[in-house]
Chain length 189, copies 2
């Protein structure tokens, strides 16, 4: 896949580091990053991230998702007034809001899982692209759902699930092995 | 991360193909595989998959998940009687059931998203390891939840969310670009 034109030296350096990031390594080194430093995220990288999101599995392959790419600074600031843990949106280059589209659900009841898989793919693709993010939960908190619905003018059948800020990492977190044998059961509980 | 001892030539060949699978490529080439051919999946690979699962983000980092690794053939066959789309479990080397553990939830209402992220990480790690899988949805279908609860003897606070069969791919599916510009909105709906 093409990474498009790279806009700054720091991005070029980061991409060199991560261009051949092994898939398993990516899964193990993705961390929740809540501080970002100045630096743009090119549209080509955003398209790569959205392509990864839309490659997620979904019930009956119905792909019941919609995405809002937010670069407008005023809108990003307004989002921090709706979501209490979203203050880093003031510094992020952009944010992507993952929404469920209930009108696209053939089988009812699976959209949260489908859109969560798309969200996780997004976080991994952002990390693999040399950028950072964190899962900001929206649904099922009704005040967050309604706040974003009003801010973006979403129709009733579209439910915001989560927000992914995207930016250059402003803090460093190492790999953390969270494997817990106590959570692994064999053939029965 | 270590891939442990490789047990068969076909696995060695597959691992050579995928060992340095680029993270973005893994996201784009993971497909739902429903046919498996004979061949074992070593315990070391299963541990790698579970480690990836447990590296998923979760609300407040509470990691409200539990995993059941099913290798017992009789149990795998019984699962096909509970889940109508799970007939491939008869051929799979094993299956992993991802469960939500409600007793580990500090913030209520997020376990489905947390466990879906873990499930997606699992599917990607299975793919990156040279094996294949498919997301078999369980929750919120009550007859599937109750069937598996009874089969495995799960306590009330543990809810099976999804099943991932694991096996050597018995069908080939290429990369599919599902990017849809119509699902991408800019700053507003």
């Amino acid at each position: 896949m093409s990474y498009g034109m790279l806009l700054s030296e720091s991005i070029i350096l980061r991409r060199k580091e991560v261009l051949d990031l092994d898939a398993v390594e990516a899964l193990l080194t993705r961390r929740s990053i809540r501080k970002y430093k100045q630096g743009d995220v090119p549209d080509s990288a955003v398209k790569d991230v959205l392509t990864a999101a839309m490659s997620a599995p979904s019930a009956g392959n119905q792909q019941p998702w919609q995405f809002i790419v937010v670069r407008d600074r005023q809108t990003l600031v307004k989002m921090t007034e709706i979501h209490p843990s979203a203050q880093m949106l003031k510094e992020a280059a952009l944010a992507i809001v993952v929404c469920g589209d209930l009108s696209l659900e053939k089988y009812k009841g699976w959209w949260v899982q489908d859109c969560s898989a798309a969200m996780e793919n997004m976080l991994l693709a952002i990390h693999a692209g040399g950028f950072s993010s964190v899962w900001l939960g929206v649904y099922p908190r009704q005040e967050r759902v309604e706040g974003l619905r009003k801010l973006f003018g979403l129709p009733e059948h579209v439910v915001p699930l989560a927000i992914a800020p995207v930016g250059l990492p402003g803090e460093k977190k190492g790999k953390e092995n969270r494997y817990a044998e106590s959570k692994v059961h064999r053939d029965k509980w």
